[in-house]
Symmetry: C2
Subunit: 691 residues, 2 copies
């Protein structure tokens, strides 16, 4: 007897993600009013057919289940066989089994149980009479839970404190959660209203809190499960004849393995890392959300950072894939992703990172046509000088910062340049050499144009924009950071940007944690880990001092009390659990533990640890099939890795001692050790170089 | 007090049609198995926003209803106002009212009641943050019947005969209907099964009839309303403990005005005309169906003919618009309409006819972008010689006929040529002169290529195809009829085609009523109404002789008994109520009454009556704002028209007498009378020219 095969629900690839994304995008509320996104939401194919080529050694019983209606065809291309229903026998030999599935309200999907075959990733699917592609699927293995009934798992959590007040309860769950309030044993008559708060003040503000639910107590109903909400506190008002019974919360979460770790000599830094992980986990769900309370939407710029954070803590490929599919939607492209020009480019950059970290070329291949049509949309919007300007309906974002975003914004052109490079790389990888050359020359041309147009050698940096052929003389950090990170600078330009822009106090400060991600990364690229260390402790530590259990959308130390919760002119509009608030995970893993892949899927990698101003650091970075452990203090470095081979790069005032491996001197005080012995703990004795 | 304004449900234009089309397309069954179409079905936008600019003289109360969820914004571009719900007051002055509406399962739509304004065609809608277009709407004026609850009206009809048999009933409704069987007063326990038949034989064939429904009698339920089915007869089997009660049928229909009429000296021809009208009416529903039993789908080639029939009997613009929208679906174009190359071209030709008959340029304008992208799809599929060949996934149909359809099929190129002309005309009309020139020169180039490639002067006609540069020497009527009808021939070619192809008994006969439409039209264009008269009486009369109450998909006089009902290898697969069976309506109105528009919307028209072999004919042809009445016998012609002006063209052996109007001699025996006096009955005395 062979191993029993396990069937899984299958569907048209991408449609599960698109349908779920729609559900989630339309969930946002503001005081019981819906608040839908302002970009196009695509829809799924309502009528598809599935195909599987069989070669059966003996007659075989097959059972078919569908989410929607279905019919079966056997060995007939377009035609159904009305004799084949639910369960039937397929004779031995070669056959083509077709299942026609339709569903107008949720994605048509099927689940097939045979003996030598089942529904799985080997099936093909089409929405017409040709264009067969591999099906989509995603661990939905329970026949009783088809895609339309899917939801993330839940666990019940109890409040840490309940205060009884006059005909109300004030409840604290101890930390921010994403959950449904559950009331059991409710009785009496009348209604009750639940006011939610990420802060005490919000939950107490009945007329300004963002989220609330009102229920009328029904006869014969004692259990009430309210909609999913983001909160730490709830304040429940109830009519005098209502008895509320017992209260808990059903916390809904994506199961994730905590594979990456970070610890160091500074306890506050450790707390920052853990709070970052919790913040990111709450926002890691069907997709990466920007914030669980607001917006609860999937934004490409926010996701770009979440993807990178994910590689350093959960290394969950699936959520990255789901998010990338949802963001891209379907053709035709009629506007930028989230309507934001830069957010379109981040999608290309995210795919590049995805391939670099995971090595999963199949996903790139599946999305290549969508990359082409999205890039075509961009290229068709270039002006006469070959650059992209905001057109009607476009949002040119880059950052909430004080600079002119009309005309040819330098930072946008850099992102386009980098996206073109990505297109060239992927085209070559997939065997489209001509396309690759096309994109490469577009990238190179644009690179020259950018330097020519925006580099101001008097000011020593890239200026913000050019409007009607006239260059601005304003310099902000944004374009300069991008120029650094995305390889647009020569060595002297790098030096100039460091001095004249990044470390120049006269240049406008970055105010958002969103762009601080890029700023801190850029500073680390320049070896300024000590500055970054202080920044993290001050900024993120400041939130912890104010009692944060998750990190915020924005933090301004100069504000007082409930002022912290206001945004966009509303008192509680600020998101207190925002994915981009978790960026220390990336900074500490990538630039302190210093781990990054050099070739796709970590087939080779680099470890370049840096203590910053810490006494010791220790941690693990996940990789596709294993992990990389790093320890460092002032005199010792330890590295252990599994399955891969890499290099350790470090500085030392003295000739270092290494327990094993090939050591090479790279320059003054700089050494490289090959790491080609998986499972072995390399120990290096060295002496720190103080700058 | 001004007149009270009536609100109507509004939605994203086209989405109602697309959603309904999906519902209807997915309804087909074959012995209780679903039978979905094999082409892409598009989906609606699930999140849209509506906008109305207001200038209120005084504060005004507004009430909002939605099919789905909604929020309101006032004077804020992208943002909702949580204070505005259900009913609220808008202050006087200028305002922008926005309604955000979402619905994942049926189209998001709204209904707004104000005092000086309501939801109507003046609102705009968008699925993103730009690209505003005028809303779609369609007489859904009842706030309680939103689009998701829409269905056509029903009337109850009773059987004309019920035979009680052993534990079964055999029921005859007297003629073909499209209805739900309704049983009231059902009691007992057990089940009953309803077998449907367009013929007695089908309803009696429990194991081969196409449609059947099984019901289990439930306690506390005495009324059973079954799904909509096409049938004349039902055979109901019931278990011995089941009492069936009373039986009727809820006949669902599109209310249509019978505006066009035709009567003549031949009673059988009158019966043919009336049965044609009934056949077309049954297939005229949310959209034009090919047949009410099979397929119950919307096919572009079938619809092309239904549109033309409609102009001569109902002149219902709305069903044409709905059908054209449903056929086209949404971008991106990934395949031909219904997967058939010729069916894509008929869509362009149908739009041309729509504009010619109705003069409705607004609809053309609304669809212009979709014409462009569909034509782009076609042009991108041309081969190196600039012609279209079937590519993988394409169905090259033209007709069920015996000729090679590989390579460059001549008939397809002619349809492409005509489609390019249509694109050129519409482009010019809408002010896109450059586009118009582009399409015109593509059309002209193609015309020359077609004549050069396919005209065989030895055989005196167009050959069927060219494969790998090698021309076929087969001639069938198809390409030659198209060449005639779509203006590809010079006078000598026309003469040659008439003699060598159309009236040549050695050329393969047209076997389908579908292509007979074109053949009869072509014969009439050549003045062969007498031949056509005989053809109609024989072919359609033959079906009446067999008891037809509606005309069939196909009729072969050589078959016997139940053989008539078989098709595609199944005994009852033939559709006995097929829209294209109704073509005498078009032939008699267009070529016997002889009425056609000369300029869009009948602003000018031609009446060129022809008796064929009939003694007298009389009838009315509807036009946008009125109608054209025509009477003709061997010595008298009468014409009356309303609102328009036209010309009467007729042949007479003698100098005719005319009661009024300007008479002009056009040639030997041929006269033209101007008709510029609406409401006046022109009487002409003439003498018939016998050929």
């Amino acid at each position: 007897m062979g191993k029993k095969l396990k069937p899984t629900w299958i569907w048209y690839p991408g449609d599960f993600e698109i349908w779920q994304h729609n559900k989630i995008s339309l969930r946002r509320e503001d005081r019981q009013c819906i608040f839908p996104p302002f970009w196009k939401l695509d829809n799924f194919y309502i009528s598809v057919k599935f195909k599987k080529e069989l070669n059966l050694e003996k007659p075989e019983k097959v059972s078919i289940f569908a989410d929607g209606k279905y019919s079966v065809g056997l060995d007939r291309d377009m035609s159904i066989n009305t004799d084949l229903r639910d369960t039937f026998i397929i004779p031995e030999g070669k056959h083509t089994l077709m299942v026609f599935a339709v569903n107008q309200t949720s994605i048509p999907s099927i689940y097939v149980e045979g003996e030598s075959f089942v529904s799985d990733g080997s099936w093909e699917v089409s929405y017409s009479n040709c264009d067969w592609v591999k099906v989509g699927y995603w661990n939905l293995n329970d026949v009783n839970i088809p895609p339309s009934k899917f939801s993330l798992p839940k666990k019940e959590v109890l409040p840490v404190n309940v205060q009884k007040r006059d005909s109300s309860l004030f409840v604290d769950f101890g930390k921010e959660i994403f959950a449904s309030i559950k009331l059991t044993g409710v009785s009496g008559s009348g209604k009750f209203t639940v006011y939610y708060g990420e802060s005490v003040e919000e939950a107490e503000s009945r007329d300004r809190c963002v989220l609330l639910d009102t229920c009328v107590v029904e006869e014969c109903k004692s259990t009430y499960i309210l909609p999913l909400r983001a909160f730490r506190y709830v304040n429940i008002d109830f009519d005098k004849d209502v008895l509320l019974g017992d209260l808990s919360a059903l916390f809904e979460y994506l199961p994730l393995e905590y594979r990456g770790n970070f610890r160091c000599s500074n306890q506050r830094m450790n707390e920052i890392w853990e709070t970052s992980r919790y913040t990111l986990h709450l926002n890691s769900r069907e997709f990466f959300l920007d914030g669980i309370k607001r917006d609860g939407w999937v934004w490409s710029g926010d996701a770009y950072q979440s993807f990178l954070l994910n590689y350093y803590v959960f290394f969950d490929k699936d959520i990255n894939k789901r998010t990338l599919i949802a963001l891209r939607g379907k053709d035709p492209v009629t506007g930028h992703i989230n309507t934001i020009m830069d957010y379109t480019f981040y999608w290309f950059l995210s795919l590049y990172d995805y391939y670099l970290y995971t090595g999963d070329i199949e996903f790139i291949e599946q999305n290549y046509n969508k990359m082409l049509t999205l890039m075509e949309f961009c290229l068709n919007r270039r002006n006469n000088s070959g650059m992209m300007e905001g057109l009607p309906g476009d949002w040119v974002f880059i950052d909430w910062a004080d600079f002119d975003k009309t005309g040819e914004v330098c930072a946008e052109q850099i992102l386009l340049f980098r996206s073109l490079q990505v297109m060239s790389d992927f085209s070559l990888l997939l065997g489209f050499e001509e396309k690759s050359h096309e994109f490469a020359s577009l990238a190179n041309e644009l690179k020259s144009k950018i330097v020519e147009a925006f580099w101001n050698s008097n000011l020593g940096g890239f200026v913000t924009t050019r409007i009607d052929g006239k260059c601005s003389t304003q310099i902000t950090k944004h374009a300069n950071i991008f120029a650094m990170l995305f390889g647009l600078c020569n060595v002297s330009q790098l030096e100039s940007i460091k001095k004249n822009v990044l470390l120049n106090d006269n240049i406008q400060k970055i105010k958002t944690p969103y762009f601080r991600f890029y700023e801190l990364a850029a500073l680390c690229e320049l070896g300024e880990q000590s500055i970054v260390c202080k920044e993290i402790l001050d900024y993120w530590g400041g939130m912890l001092d104010l009692g944060a259990t998750t990190f915020w959308e924005e933090y301004d130390p100069s504000l007082k009390g409930a002022e912290h919760y206001a945004m966009y002119g509303s008192p509680f509009e600020k998101s207190l659990c925002h994915a981009w608030g978790a960026s220390p995970i990336y900074i500490l893993g990538r630039y302190f533990l210093g781990v990054k892949p050099l070739t796709p899927g970590y087939k080779s990698f680099e470890v370049k640890p840096n203590l910053g101003s810490l006494e010791w650091i220790e941690g693990t970075v996940p990789a596709p099939n294993g992990e990389i452990y790093v320890y460092m203090d002032n005199s010792t470095i330890k590295v252990k890795h599994t399955d891969y081979s890499g290099v350790l790069i470090f500085d030392s005032k003295i000739e270092p001692y290494v327990s094993s491996g090939k050591l090479r001197k790279l320059g003054e005080n700089r050494y490289e050790l090959t790491l080609d012995n998986p499972g072995y703990e390399y120990v290096i004795k060295y002496a720190k170089v103080h700058k």
